[in-house]
Amino acid sequence: MGGPMKIRASIMDGVTEVKVLMQHEMETGLRKDSEGKLVPMWIITELKAQHKGKTVLEGQFGPAVSKNPYLVFRFKGAAKGDKVSFTWADNRGDTRSDEAEIS
C-alpha cells in the first residue's frame, strides 16, 4: 500500500485550489539496476479527486511524471470546511486515498 499523500486545499473567491503531493517511485521501466537488468515500470496510472461524491478531476499518468508526483487543480462549488478526497491507483493494482479539509 502506498504512503500517505499531502493534500492542501484552500478556497478564495469561490475557487478551491487543491495541491496534492503523492508518494510514489514512478519507475519508468527504462532504468537499469546495478546488475544491468531493466527495473520494471511501476507508476501511478489513474487519479481521481472528489468533492461531496462528485468527481472534480480525473487524470492519467504515464512514466514521464516525476517521482513523488505533484498536482495542482482548481474547482468551483465547494465551501470552507468541506472535504476533498483524492485517490490514485498504480499499475501494480495498489491504490491510496486521502482527504483534506478546505481552509
Binding site: E46, K48, L57, Q60, G62, L71, F73, A89, T95
Partner: protein, 159 residues
C-alpha cells in the same frame, strides 16, 4: 498552522493502515465507478511519435491559441523534475494533455475536467534532454495546442 499540519500528518499515518483493505478492493475494481471504469490510455501513453500520440488521443487538427497559457522554466536545472502549468481562459475546458516531444514516450499526463473544474493544472514531468513541452487542450469539442522549449542542463560536478 504548523500544529494543524502535524495533526494531519498523524491522522494520515493512522488512516493509512485502514486503507489496506480498500487497496485490495480497488485492485479488483470495487473502489468506485471512476477509477475502475476509466481505462488507462495505453496506446496514447506508449506512442513514440507526436502523430501516434495525437491519433491515440483522438486529437483532430489542433489550432494554436493565445488563450492557452503554458508555463515552463526556460532552463531546468534537472530533467528529473520539470514543473509544467497549463492554464486557459477558454470556457468549458474538457481535457488537458501534457507531452514532451523528445521523451521515449511522448505523453506524460492526461486530465479530464468535469463541469465546475477550471481549465488549470500544474504538475511535474521528467525530461531526458532539451525538448519541447506540448500542451493539448480540448475545449467545447475543439482542440488547441501550445508548446515551449525547456533547456535541460548538466548540473553540478557531474562526477
Amino acid at each position: 498552522m504548523k500544529q494543524e499540519m502535524n495533526l494531519n500528518r498523524r491522522k494520515a499515518l493512522k488512516t493509512g493502515g485502514g486503507l489496506g483493505l480498500l487497496g485490495l478492493l480497488g485492485a479488483v475494481g470495487l473502489l468506485g465507478p471512476g477509477l475502475a471504469r476509466a481505462e488507462w490510455k495505453k496506446d496514447a501513453f506508449e506512442a513514440k511519435t507526436l502523430d501516434e500520440a495525437l491519433a491515440a488521443l483522438g486529437v483532430i487538427a489542433p489550432e494554436n491559441s493565445a488563450a492557452i497559457h503554458l508555463s515552463v522554466p526556460e532552463i531546468a536545472e534537472n530533467g528529473a523534475v520539470v514543473p509544467v502549468t497549463v492554464a486557459s481562459s477558454l470556457s468549458r475546458i474538457e481535457q488537458i494533455s501534457i507531452l514532451v516531444d523528445k521523451n521515449p514516450n511522448l505523453l506524460a499526463a492526461h486530465f479530464v475536467f468535469p463541469e465546475g473544474t477550471q481549465g488549470f493544472v500544474t504538475t511535474r514531468v521528467k525530461m531526458g534532454q532539451t525538448a519541447m513541452v506540448i500542451a493539448l487542450v480540448k475545449a467545447e469539442g475543439k482542440f488547441y495546442r501550445v508548446s515551449k522549449e525547456v533547456k535541460v542542463t548538466a548540473g553540478g560536478c557531474g562526477g
